[in-house]
Amino acid sequence: MKQRHYWLLALLSIVILMTTTTLAIAEETLISGNAEVRVSGINTNDNPARVNEYGTIRSEKGLSLAPKLSLDSVGENSSLGIDVDIMGIHDQKVDFELDAMRIFRLKSHYSVLDHWKDHETLDQMGATMAGDNLGKQPTVSTDKTFYDSGLSTIGGLNPGYTPTEAGQRYYQEMDNDYIVTRREFKNEADLTLPALPNIIFHAGIRIETREGMEQAIGLSKCAGCHVSAGGKDIDERTDDLTFGVTGKFGPITVDYEYLTRNFDEDADAPGRFYAANSNSQLLYNGGDYEYARTPDSEKDTHTLKIRGDFANSTSVVGSYVKSDIESSKSGVADTSYTLQNGTTLKTEMESYGAKATTKLGKNWRFSVRASTYEIEADDNTLYFANRVGVTSKAFTSDGYEDWASAEERKVTEFGADVVYRLTSATLLRFSYGYEKIDREEEELGETETNSFKLAIKSRLTKNLSGRLSYMYQDISDPFGADHATGIYQGTGTADPLGSGLSYAIIPVDEKYWDAVYPERTLSATNQPDAVHEVKLNTTWALKPNMAATLFARVRYEENDDVHYEQSTVVPGVSFWYAPSDKVNLTMAYTYSYQDTENRACVGWYHG
């Protein structure tokens, strides 16, 4: 996509680089740095996936050539910096900076990193599989349990392969090494023409690739009756291209940037066999189908910012952002479902923001801010066939209900900050913020948040300074689903022994969509409706050669409606000591504690 832009950018960069570098070389320059020729190596025992998760030197054992170069060249009007640190084939960082006559500035960065990805055994499926009956609801089976069983069906259905083949698949999959190599090449260039000194032209290009293999987990039939895993090839490429301009016109600064992003996944998606069911619906279709496909996407964003700087430390900032995103699964071979508008999902985001800051006298500083943005995602709406009436036994198509995407919403925010200088060494700050999230899907709630924050920052003595803050948030209707769980809770017969069970007696051939899903009475969320947070940070310079920092964060969240409560305590200390000019010692310790309670419900079927 838009390859012509890359050629244009590359050509422009080369011309400017040649011109300005020639000018720069003519100057008298000071060159310094160091170069190293190294040999690096790694050896791992047992499982390398965690102990070497981010591929130090290389993802597997072996030796590598590991050169290093650091070079700084500084001239009268120009400078050049190069940092190369190569520890192995997939552990590399290269940084390049050029300032040529203050006309052309270029920053380039290249990095390579291996990442061992998660690899589940699927044994945890046994957490809800005690007394497993191989796929008969509500339990689940895996390739391993199917292999161990020696049976020929899973839950009475043909899985598409024999138990022996299931065993081969399982042990082959467990043998896979899930490693993804990430490469990033990033360039940002600024051009200031001598004839237009108040205007800076910007251009940038970023190319990110991910190659390797990840684990993909699929499940068959209408629920998690048979869960299996396979290797998913990764061959992703993200291209970002930016063009922009910054202009300064007296007190006004105008900044515009255009970003276009293209994401492609070129690897084939993995496939698996889905056992057929007698109901002719997509979820019950039988055969080999792709799963875990990553869609391609494109994004175009325009960003405009205008800032005015005036007397008395007064400034006004306005911003406008418009973004269009398209996501496509055009390469999907499975045509058993269709989107409303072809093969592309479209999302649009439009945002307006403003902020004003001013100072009153020597001791007061005020700022106010407001913003609003809207995300439209009409194409992402799901349509479900109506299932009306408790007597319906089969799929009907006499009408549809729609379910809008959670991302489709309007958000309004405003707030104010007041800063008061209590003494020459002490500042008091009070902040208020309001946010309203109006989601298109009513079931997901309309969230309003009022935030209050009080902070004090002070230098108590010459050697002791610190900051203490308290924040409170009152949140109404936090993100969640209103009728998500709790079948027959409060409407059925409660267990007199107080186990938390509530149930109803129904005809055994009643359908879930008549007798189960509409009977969910409780909301579910892991979001709070009240938050309290205290933060403390102090620095104590005991002596010229000794300093300590103490910090702590205590946060408490609650939401009584869903029995949610979360406490977080994170204290820490760091200490630096230099007993002599030849010795430096540092120590840092952090403790992180979190306790979360939440109501959870499981379905209960008896008979």
Binding site: N47, P507, T590
Partner: protein, 162 residues
């Protein structure tokens, strides 16, 4: 009491608790041992332990609520009137779900020791080396199986200042 052709449908709700404890300690230092030799050393220790507590009460049978036996399956209860009932076929939430606790527990320790140094042969010519020993020790297997592992890595090289 249920008859053939009827079923119980409902839900069991209880409060879950997830607790996480993580300690991170790092010590580092460097030492100009001689005019030509500079040494550095570091130690990093991580200790993480997470637990999930979710208890279900066993409710296989609900007092006088019994399930009519399915023809061909053995019955657990035969009433004085001769009617047969099957409680063994029941879905017991306690039996089915309490293993979630065990598979959600996380416990590991990680130790990383590093020793390195630089020796200057001349003002511009030097040698440098570093070695690290890293241990990942799981206390309990999480959903990724046994992730115990050790790694030794490092480098040695010659350098030139200019």
């Amino acid at each position: 009491m249920l008859s053939i052709g009827e079923a119980l449908v409902g839900s069991i709700c209880s409060d879950t608790e997830y607790e996480s404890d993580v300690h991170t300690l790092s010590l580092s230092g460097d030492f100009q041992a001689t005019k030509k030799l500079r040494l550095n050393a570091s130690f990093v220790y991580n200790n993480a332990k997470d637990t999930w507590d979710w208890s279900f009460t066993e409710r296989t049978a609900l007092g006088n609520v019994l399930i009519a036996a399915v023809p061909g399956r053995p019955s657990n209860v035969v009433t004085p009137s001769g009617a047969k009932y099957d409680v063994g076929a029941a879905y017991d939430s306690a039996d089915q779900n309490n293993l979630i606790d065990g598979y959600s527990d996380l416990s590991y320790q990680q130790y990383e020791f590093t020793l390195g140094g630089t020796y200057n042969f001349t003002e511009t010519f030097y040698t440098t080396a570093s070695a690290t020993y890293d241990v990942f020790d799981m206390g309990e297997e999480y959903v990724y199986g046994d992730e115990d592992g050790t790694a030794y890595y490092g480098y040695v090289g010659l350098g030139w200042n200019f």
